[in-house]
Symmetry: C2
Subunit: 251 residues, 2 copies
DNA sequence: CTTGCACCTCACGCCGCGTGAGGTCCGAGG
DNA sequence: CCTCGGACCTCACGCGGCGTGAGGTGCAAG
């Protein structure tokens, strides 16, 4: 009844279905669709049943199933179509959600880059890094607050603050090495300067200060390894004794 | 100045950054991040510069760049960060759009399956196939119209129509084989029945009828190969002569 | 007989590692 | 001294879905 149609050869079936010959070979290789006959010389011959199966395969591929699962689906007819589709849809939606989260990150990055004008790639990495850290450790509101403070202070002030840290940290390290007691007035003056620098960044927000501390606690290994002249846990501990003397925490 | 920190060995760097040892090996293999030193016995030693570079790599990976492109970005500092990010974002959004289109298809499928109750996988494939065909050849409004007609007629009526086609087509094929002239009354009666069956599906909508014709024209190879007892171009041509006799087209 | 196309069978490449297999190095404990 | 365990080393295959050759055969037309 169905042998009226002459069987397809690969090329014909490929061009009829829009697939490539290689694809059909592949389906044969993995046992997903093997032609039900061959010519004596080995040429593949696909009959009506094969074509039908191929259409089913194409249908399932079109909605994103992997080949392995398609084979499974076509071999066992016990599976409930609804459940399969629902599960598949769920996975797909999760992937979409992940990618959208990534897109949001990229959009935020793009906005940051607008303000940074002609950023070369080195800066790009720093900005990404900062953006990622921000995401990990600060709430969106805190991020807005930090950005607002940055804009308010201006670029020059920010560079001033960075330069100040560049002086304070080596000085503290000196005192640590010499074993200066927490009661030393020079050290206490340094502690007050430290405190003001922290406040310049946090704007006096204790939650932000706490987040920064948490960030340092969890990331100090990489931070200290990658950037010289950054505080480490020992320095935080040392400064804590000084803050205890002059009263009040670091921020 | 930065050699105060002892260099990292792979395991330490891996656990500090959250990567795996294998990943660091891989980055070394492909020349993305080679440790700047080795112990005499060959153990990798990563210094501060390496760690910094790794952080940049992690940043760029976190926003989805492939390793090859990361290497390229990090080696040439001419590239504009904005353009890179914008391009990357664009590609990502396109991928998202594609996947969302797929999700929409799956949702539509899920809805179709609800009405089909306990569909096994075989039916699933037919429904997917039909859904995809619908998408290709019919506008959403036409799809709604077809679905509405289907619901109006009821399942029994649809099965009746299918059974009717199952009689009409072999009969026509008989006449074709015998060379019956278009003036033959039996054949003309068959043509009128054909016309009514088409109308049962299209609801008299000429646009839908035209789409069906286009679908057959473009897909007849696979349709005829996969399903016995379907009209082919020769049959359409033959019927056209009969419709010319009795006046009016097929639909 | 030759040309040329469609077909055949290997088999490697992609991307970002996971996961062994099989061997070496190193610090601590007996 | 030896030994033990853990961290390190270098291959090398596997994954998904084919693309892209390379090198050879089949078959109908000129």
């Amino acid at each position: 009844m169905s042998e009226l149609q002459p069987p397809f050869k690969v090329g014909a079936l490929a061009s009829a279905t829009g697939l490539t010959v290689r694809t059909l070979h592949h389906y044969d290789e993995i046992g997903l669709l093997s032609p039900s006959a061959r010519t004596p010389s080995g040429h593949r011959l696909y009959d009506a049943h094969d074509v039908q199966r191929l259409q089913q395969i194409q249908s399932l591929r079109a909605v994103g199933f992997p080949l392995e699962e398609i084979r499974h689906l076509l071999s066992s007819r016990q599976v409930s179509a609804q459940r399969v589709i629902a599960l598949h849809l769920e996975q797909l939606e999760q992937r979409i959600a992940e990618q959208q989260a990534l897109a949001v990150r990229l959009q935020r990055l793009a906005r940051h880059l607008e303000t940074a004008a002609l950023a070369p790639v080195g800066d790009l990495c720093r900005i990404i890094e900062a953006t990622l850290m921000m995401e990990q450790y600060f709430t969106p509101e805190q991020q807005d607050a930090i950005k607002a403070r940055g804009a308010m202070l201006g670029e020059q002030a920010i560079r001033d603050v960075e330069a100040a840290w560049g002086e304070v940290i080596p000085a503290v390290r000196e005192h640590m090495a010499r074993g200066t007691p927490p009661t030393d007035p020079d050290l206490q003056a340094l502690a007050r300067r430290w405190k003001s620098l922290v406040e310049a960044f946090t704007g006096g927000d204790h939650a932000i200060a706490a987040s920064v501390r948490r960030m340092y606690d969890e990331q100090h290994e990489v931070i200290n390894a990658a950037h010289a002249n950054t505080p480490d846990p020992a320095m935080f501990a040392f400064m804590a004794t000084v803050f205890a003397e002059i009263g009040g925490g670091p921020g």
